[in-house]
Every structure is written in structure tokens, then in C-alpha cells.
Amino acid sequence: MTAATPEPPTAVVGEGLKRRWRPWLRAIHRDVGYLAVGLTIIYAVSGLAINHLDDWDPNFTTYPRERAIAPIAADAPDDAAVEQARAALGLGPPRSTYRAGDELHLEYDDRKLVIYGDTGLVVEQGREARFFLRVANWLHYNRGKKAWTYIADAYAVLLLYLAVSGLFMIKGKKGLRWRGAALLALGAAVPIAYVVWSGGPAAEQRATREASERAAREAGERARPSPPPPATP
């Protein structure tokens, strides 16, 4: 019987590492994932909100509200009319006032009131900050700057880690060799296909340049003086 030759310690460590790195990767991925949930929700929800700026106001809701007060005499001086309206509505001093015809306009920072003096109808139009979204969008745009820049940078690094570690979390046919590779290729193909299809930033730049050249040409044509009238014989 021969004694087994002991393996060098480095090989044991190497083997252990080879066997254990995936659980470590998963464990870190999981914890980083927990850490990133809050910010991911903020960035994703506000991303959806501000991606559709053309369709809605992601920061404020506007509302109309109507009330009725006693009619305001047409011949009441402007100051008296404003005071009467303010007293009836329990309002503070407005940022500005304006009176035209039967209308009295009171402007505040976040709302505007039009009071129809002849009927006493008050139409208030205002805007209120959307719950959560206003703050989420503020963070997303990094309007506050300062420390948020570093937090956003750190979050981006965490996201990169999640993306890369996610590739290697499991092995086998559901890992990167088969299904993972197919889905990875599909995911990467989407932006590539879009850039190819749309022409990318170069096409956009070209279109903008052509539009401004066309506008300048047309403006030049409009500005060109008309030829002098023919001399009278």
C-alpha cells in the first residue's frame, strides 16, 4: 500500500474557489439586488413617467375647481373688487391681479382664479405636485446635485454588477450556454436593430441640419427684396 501524495495547498484553494465562486456570486447578486430595489423603483417609475412628457405632466396634476360668491359690482373699484373676492374666498394676497370686462383674475404661485363678477362664479385652476413622482423625477434628473451625484454613480455601478453577475449565476442549459445566450443575444439585438433601423444619432443630426438649411433657404427667399417695378414709359 502506497501512501497518497498530498496535493499542494494552492491547488486545494484553487479547486475550492472554482467550486465556490458561483454561490458567492449569487449571494452577492442577491444582496446587491436587495440594496438596489429602492433606487430601481425610483428610477424605473420616474423613467416611465418622464419618457412620456409629450403626453402628460409627470410632476403635477392640474385641477379645475368651481365655487360661487356674491356678484361683484361692475363699478366697484379694482382694489375693492379684489378685497371682496379675497374675503369671500378666504385667500391671502395674490401675486398679481387683473380685471377686464366682467372678469377678475387673481394669480397665485400654484393656482389662478377667474371670478366672473356678474354671476359670482369662481373658476379656480391649479396644479398640485404628484405624490411620489414629483420627488422621484427630481431625483432622476439629479436636480439637487451635491451628494446625489455620488449615490447615482454608486447605483449605476451596482446595476453593472447585477447585469454582469446575472450572466454567470447558473450553469447548464438554462445558463449562459443555451437559454441564457439566446436571451442575451436577443436583448442585445434590440438596441442594435433600433440603431440600424433609425440610422442612429448621425441620421438625426443630418435631418436637423437639412431642416435648418431648408428653413434658412425659405427665410432667405422670403427676405429677398422684390424686383423694382418696371420704369414707366
Binding site: 392640474t62 377686464a100 370686462g101 373658476v123 431642416a211 422670403r222
Partner: protein, 244 residues
């Protein structure tokens, strides 16, 4: 030695039985179909206004609802870069091919003879709002006051931040076209063009410029903001002139 960990679905057979992939996909497909069906039914059931409007005819013989339109109850916010929105700073410049260009503030606009009438409006995106009462001053009256030159053929409605839209003179000065400051007895909300917007009800609604600042009479047509971006130069809803 610890047994290798199995995926959750294999460790819990009852969970596996309930949620294998096929069941999941089937449930998801059924759920989606149900939601789509519910949405379609909701839309069909709630579209009495459209059905009713399709059966009506205008005084000029055209159907009340242009093709491809659906009736909704209130103007929809279609975006755009808002103007200041306050009556105090409002100015309307009437100029171009006219003998007497002039400028009006809000109070002066209200002192002019007023026009109040019901009108239908049709957005190029497919919605229509019918029968709202609009109040303002007829463009024809402003044209008369300015003394439009005989060679003028088009009207350019100018609005905040350089927005323009072009309308043929005859259509811009038609009896229904106006510079409006009230709708259904209320001022316009800022998103709908406060304090004053154009109204050319027989053309798609983008021709009714919000946050109006000027009316310019011109000899040569000048396609406006949307017209140079692929929208139709004329924009007749009954001819479905949506895109150029």
C-alpha cells in the same frame, strides 16, 4: 455530504403541479385575452356618444362626425410648450398684409363685439369634442378692423414659442372661426391655451393654435409647425387630411 439544492419547483411538488411553465403561459394568455376583451367591451359600451354623432348630419349636409373620429366628453391635453397663460401679459398682434396693423390686450379683446357659438372640434389623433360653447371674437372682425389687403390669401396663427399654423383666408375668416377665450363659460386651463386660443372648428384641431399671440395675413402660404413636420397643409377632417 449535503445534497445538491434543487430549484424551488422541484423541491415542492405541490407548487410544481400548480405552476409548471405550461400552466403559467396558459393562465397568462387567458388573463391577457380576458383583459383585452373587457377593455373592448368597456370601450364599445361606453361609446354611445360616437354612435349617436355618426347618425347626425350637419346643416351643410356633411356628417356631424368626420370619418375615423371618436367622441369624447372633454378636450384632451395634447401637450405643447405652454405660453405664459395669464391675461395680464396677453397681447394679440394683427399684422402682415393689412392696411392698419394693431395690437390688442386682453381687456381690449373683451371690449370688441363678441361671438358665442356651439362648435365641434376634431383632433387629428382621432378624438372629437362636440357641441361645446365657445366665446371670443370673430377672426373676420379682426380682419375687417385691420383692413386686409386684397392680395392676402392665407392667415398664419402665431402662438407662444414660435408655434405657427397656416389656414386659407376664406377658412380663417369663416363665420365659425374665432379668437376664443372661454369654453362652456369657463376660461381655458393653461394646457388648453389660456388665456386665448384660435378656433377654426372645420379643420383638424392643431389649426386652432393654443396660447395665441398673433394673426398674420400673408400673400404666400407658409406651412406652420406641424405642417412642415408631415401633417397635412389643409387638414379637412371630412377628407381625412391628416398627413401630407
Amino acid at each position: 455530504m449535503r445534497a445538491p439544492r434543487l430549484p424551488d419547483l422541484e423541491r415542492f411538488p405541490e407548487l410544481h403541479a400548480r405552476w409548471n411553465r405550461r400552466t403559467f403561459i396558459r393562465s397568462a394568455a387567458a388573463g391577457t385575452a380576458l383583459v383585452a376583451l373587457g377593455g373592448a367591451l368597456y370601450r364599445l359600451a361606453g361609446d354611445d356618444l360616437t354612435r349617436q354623432a355618426r347618425a347626425e348630419t350637419r346643416a351643410d349636409g356633411r356628417r356631424r362626425l368626420p370619418p375615423g373620429q371618436r367622441v369624447i366628453r372633454a378636450l384632451r391635453d395634447m401637450g405643447g410648450r405652454e405660453g405664459p397663460g395669464d391675461a395680464r401679459s396677453f397681447r394679440l398682434r394683427v399684422h402682415g398684409a393689412v392696411r392698419t396693423p394693431f395690437e390688442l390686450d386682453y381687456a381690449e379683446l373683451l371690449r370688441l363685439p363678441q361671438l358665442e357659438q356651439a362648435a365641434d372640434v376634431h383632433c387629428v389623433t382621432g378624438w372629437s369634442v362636440l357641441g361645446s360653447v365657445w366665446k371670443g371674437v370673430a377672426v373676420a372682425l379682426l380682419a375687417e378692423k385691420a383692413g386686409v389687403r386684397a392680395e392676402a390669401r392665407h392667415v398664419i396663427f402665431e402662438a407662444a414659442h414660435g408655434y405657427t399654423t397656416n389656414v386659407a383666408l376664406a377658412e380663417a375668416t369663416a363665420p365659425a372661426a374665432m379668437v376664443a377665450y372661454r369654453m362652456n363659460g369657463r376660461p381655458f386651463p393653461i394646457q388648453h391655451g389660456a388665456p386665448v386660443r384660435g378656433l377654426v372648428p372645420d379643420l383638424y384641431f392643431w389649426k386652432s393654435a393654443k396660447w395665441l399671440t398673433g394673426i398674420r395675413f400673408v400673400v404666400k402660404d407658409e406651412p406652420g409647425y406641424w405642417e412642415v413636420r408631415g401633417y397635412h397643409n389643409h387638414a379637412d377632417p371630412w377628407a381625412e387630411e391628416r398627413y401630407g
